[in-house]
Assembly symmetry: C2
Homo-oligomer: 303 residues x 2
């Protein structure tokens, strides 16, 4: 018997955004199809599970700044929403944590805040894995500020990765649509052009500073975020040569409070730092739930 | 009381090569100094331990070709001899296995066979860790064929890694002296200039093909190696587009037999391959001990 899985979902979740009818992942479609017999008998339970799966969730792949240590890589976040998988800032040593969670071909889009390799180096082995694993994989859409990926993509001659990706310039400021997600950007002062991000689906937003010094307009940009991921390289003081281009955990706490963020992750922590000092500095300004970003830390949108 | 640790060592090991008197690592000197009281009472035991430590040893950091999987990185080998630490081919996802064995500043030299990122990508985070960790670290000598490291070194603007390395062109063919080791090269046909390596100290040699198709003169170059590390991307057949530029485990076994190598490692195995098929193919030609390269596999020179 042929069934329309969207029809079943619509019956429980109400109107279905048109773009999802084309963007939805085949694996999700299959899962929905498999749940249909259960739906008929256990409507409430299936509704709850499906509803949870549709929520936005984001998982840390690595949270160190500058360079990895033996246990943890640099910046990297895996965001999933409605069967869409977005990789944000695939920095050094984030590919293997990614591969414990999905196959190379499962990634639907990559967003990179800026061109430093602690934010984009592991894009390269991901593209190699997609290009050389055999089987047909769509070109991976890569969103980044102009030129940010030039160096990392030059690690191979063009023919090795031919057709494995498509670069889209991330406007600064501006916004782009990635599957079911809207990605809005605001430039944040750093050594290279750096895109602060606000990623939104429905009423849920995750905001990420990328790397950058304190920037007053960012509080409004981050207003009401469900989760604020804020660069906090140092606990309370940025050394003079980096002042204005990097932030502290104290800055991150102040930003989270001003923005009214519902939760805060401190990230890009300098290797060897004491995470308790970072948390203490942030909590002096921000009373909400806060964590230092470490691999596997996961946030799920409450609604 | 001031003592001369070299004098104590000389008494047990005989004449000491002059270059070691300047090249020896301060940590080793300190260790020797600490063993002196023990030496006085337990001469034989200390002699045995010291003698073992002086042997050449090499450890696999990763053994996959092309791209990493979730469990293992690409080509990477850590060679130690007489307190000297050489990193060979720091491919994708080999930095963290390296850091479980030594600190970034402990590496004395890096040798790269060719410029593909599965053989050199993780050089970059190693240099960042050395440059940005604080403390004085000597510029790291990097030995590679002309231009092979240009792309990976371009991942940062020059000022970030300023003074963190010094590039030395690896002559093809030719040889260079790295601390207590002599590195001889022979070009092996690949998509880029690729240096087959013969690394020698005293009567001990480790030979590594880098990546490359079967090359008849290489058997003589590898003659009598204590260990032959041979690229064996496929078990028995190289697909047509790569023929002559990559090798099989069958080729590797034939090479080991012709060269009279005392042991064989099969490396650069295509992700997802069956290691048993590789071993079986090599063993049809080579009767000595053979292994597929996996992280932590270690060879110690028998003398």
């Amino acid at each position: 018997m042929l069934v329309d899985p969207y029809g079943v979902i619509r019956a429980y979740l109400g109107p279905w955004p048109a773009h999802l009818l084309v963007e939805i992942d085949p694996a999700v479609t299959e899962m929905v199809r498999a749940t249909i017999p259960v739906v008929r008998h256990r409507r409430r339970e299936v509704f709850d599970r499906w509803s949870l799966m549709c929520r936005m969730r984001i998982t840390v792949l690595g949270g160190l700044g500058a360079f990895p240590d033996r246990d943890q890589g640099c910046s990297g976040y895996l965001l999933r929403h409605d069967g869409f998988t977005m990789l944000i800032d695939p920095g050094y040593a984030t590919l293997q944590p990614l591969l414990t969670r999905c196959a190379p071909g499962d990634v639907d889009a990559v967003v990179v805040t800026h061109g430093h390799p602690d934010h984009c180096a592991d894009l390269h082995p991901l593209l190699r894995a997609r290009a050389l694993s055999g089987g047909a994989v769509q070109p991976l859409p890569l969103y980044a500020p102009a030129g940010a990926l030039d160096a990392v993509l030059a690690l191979d001659s063009h023919d090795v990765l031919n057709g494995a990706y498509r670069v889209h310039e991330l406007p600064l400021p501006g916004d782009v649509i990635c599957g079911p997600l809207t990605v809005a950007t605001m430039p944040v002062p750093h050594f290279l052009p750096n895109a602060g991000l606000r990623i939104t689906a429905g009423r849920t937003s995750v905001v990420y500073t990328g790397d950058g010094g304190p920037h007053e307009p960012f509080a409004e940009f981050a207003g009401g975020a469900g989760l604020l991921i804020a660069e906090a390289t140092y606990a309370t003081e940025v050394p003079a040569p980096q002042a204005g281009r990097l932030s502290t955990a104290a800055d991150a706490g102040a930003l989270a409070a001003l923005a009214g963020a519902a939760a805060l992750w401190l990230t890009h922590v300098w290797p060897g730092s004491d995470p308790d000092a970072h948390l203490a500095a942030a909590r002096r300004a921000y009373a909400g739930p806060s964590n230092v970003a470490v691999p596997n830390l996961t946030w799920i949108s409450p609604t």
